[in-house]
């Protein structure tokens, strides 16, 4: 598998380590509930189809990336820096 790191270019998947689904959002703060945290830590959609997922370019620029990929075909639709995605999400939350 080849993943196109937005910073480093196309690399073999062996350079990356995988975390999982990027959809769950960490419940932040002292008010977060244990139930919400349980769902964040443990429950997954695990779709057969498109998933947005977190990869870490461990052997490259050490960027976390959000890869949009089809789990049936491995076809990759996009790769974005996770930090950009997270910032957009945070600013969305703020708005």
């Amino acid at each position: 598998m080849r993943i196109r790191c937005p910073h480093c270019g196309e690399r073999d998947n062996g350079e990356f380590s995988y975390l999982g689904d990027a959809a769950p959002v960490r419940p932040e703060g002292l008010d977060a509930s244990a139930a919400a945290m349980h769902d964040y830590v443990y429950l997954r959609d695990n779709p057969a189809g498109t998933i947005r997922e977190l990869w870490y370019h461990a052997a490259g620029c050490r960027s976390w990336l959000v890869v949009t990929r089809d789990t049936r075909t491995h076809a990759i639709e996009s790769v974005e820096p996770a930090r950009d995605v997270a910032r957009a999400r945070r600013s969305g939350e703020a708005a």
Binding site: M1, D12, N13, G14, S17, Y18, L19, G20, D21, A35, H38, D39, V41, Y42, L43, R44, D45, N46, P47, A48, I51, E53, W55, R69, T71, R72, T73, H74
Partner: protein, 416 residues
């Protein structure tokens, strides 16, 4: 026809003409007491034990493809009960005991072969971890031996004990462990279940699960709606997809695990051997091929194939441990889809939906579990209470913290 040397000899004289299908290729009926989704090893074993142990025979096993087309036919055929945590130990030992009597029970030679499973260690810390595990096994009455270097050398003299990057210091041996001819397990259970009246319905894909008032009423399939009092999911690899049909999210990700077989050669290795400092384990099939594997590819996938990176990783492990393998050739590699759970251990439990039962999350331990998974799942379905040996495999353990994490890797499926 009962299988025996005599029946085979008799048929040899008759040109093998009188054999009949090993299981009935049933058409689905309108309704069943129990519908088992998934005609793999676990589903078929569940049907068999429902019939045998609980007298429940109005059962259908629905298989979207053909019997044994999933992981039961794609694994590296290892059976063992060398687990270290109390939640796992009795269950896998139940499975081992069932393996030991399986062939006579179902009248099918699945080639259960107890030639030993040897896990190598390469450091004092690893030795102590294996001692911890071996002692836990002994507490449960399971055989385990901690070998030193010379003990290992005696068993597998061809490995690189001295010049390896991670020299071998010893191993944990379970002599009762070994291998089983994987396909034959599915076929044997299918035949035995079919003989007891279970309908095995092939080419029947489940497309929906119908519920009324919080209870299941049946399944939608590619061959029409089938009513059922109880529905049991046994579809490792696709558990999340089936659960999704009733809006359940599971603590599971689907991952691809590759397996490998070499060209057939005359006997090289008797039992199963696992490298403790790399991703490599190996045994040799009765046909002569080395069967080996390593780590999962590590990303969510429903495509039954992996990538070169993992292949090289496994071969490197093989060469590091066993430098005589260099000129032996890899014949085939393939991938299977694993239900990788959040703590590396399975789930055999009821769900919040009445009459819906779940057998899932086997990671790559599903094959060795086949008889006990069937046995315990059947018990749960028949009696609505967990079998004692599988009582730790609860779905709510992630909320309660009763985790069964043999590797200690936490809530990241690809690290288990």
């Amino acid at each position: 026809m009962r299988y025996s040397l005599f029946s085979v000899l008799g048929q040899a004289l008759r040109g093998q003409r009188d054999w009949t299908p090993q299981w009935r290729d049933a058409a689905p009926q309108e309704a069943y007491d129990v519908v088992i989704v998934g005609g793999g090893g676990h589903g078929l074993a569940t049907a068999y034990y429902l019939a045998k142990e609980h007298g429940i025979t109005n059962v259908a096993v629905l298989e979207k493809s053909h019997v044994g087309s999933g992981n039961v036919g794609r694994n590296t055929t290892i059976v063992r009960s060398n687990y270290g945590l109390p939640g796992n130990i009795p269950f896998y030992e139940r499975s081992m005991k069932l393996w030991e009597g399986l062939e006579q029970d179902i009248n099918y030679n699945a080639m259960v072969s107890q030639r030993g499973v040897l896990n190598l260690y390469h450091s004092d810390a690893q030795r102590d971890a294996y001692a911890r595990r071996g002692n836990a096994m002994r507490l449960a009455g399971i055989d385990s031996e901690l070998l030193d270097r010379e003990g290992v050398r005696g068993l597998v003299p061809f490995i690189d004990l001295d010049n390896a990057r991670f020299p071998v210091k010893g191993g944990l041996l379970q002599r009762r462990g070994g291998t089983v001819r994987h396909d034959a397990v599915a076929w044997g259970y299918a035949r035995a279940a079919s003989d007891r009246g279970v309908d095995i319905v092939q080419n029947c894909a489940v497309t929906g699960i119908r519920r009324e008032n919080g209870r299941v009423t049946g399944v939608e399939t590619s061959r029409g709606f089938i009513r059922a009092k109880k529905v049991a999911l046994s579809v490792a690899g696709s558990s999340s997809l089936l659960a999704g049909m009733v809006d359940m999210r599971l603590p599971i990700e689907s991952h691809v695990l590759q397996a490998f077989v070499s060209e057939g050669v005359k006997p090289l290795i008797d039992g199963v051997m696992t490298f403790g400092a790399g991703h490599f384990y190996v045994s040799q099939s009765d046909k002569g091929g080395l069967v080996f594997g390593g780590d999962i590819d590590g990303y969510n996938s429903y495509a039954s194939r992996g990538n070169l990176h993992t292949i090289e990783d496994v071969m490197e492990g093989g060469m590091a441990l066993w430098p005589g393998l260099g000129r032996l050739r890899l014949l085939r590699h393939w991938g299977g889809i694993m239900d990788m759970s959040m703590d590396g251990s399975p789930i055999i439990d009821r769900t919040d939906i009445g009459g819906l039962y779940l057998n899932a999350g086997w990671c790559y331990g599903g094959f060795k579990a086949t008889p006990a998974a069937g046995f315990c799942f059947a018990h749960l379905i028949a009696r609505d209470e967990a079998h004692a040996d599988a009582s730790a495999y609860r779905l709510d353990r992630f909320a309660t913290g009763h985790l069964i994490d043999e590797k200690g890797m936490g809530a990241q499926p690809n690290l288990h």
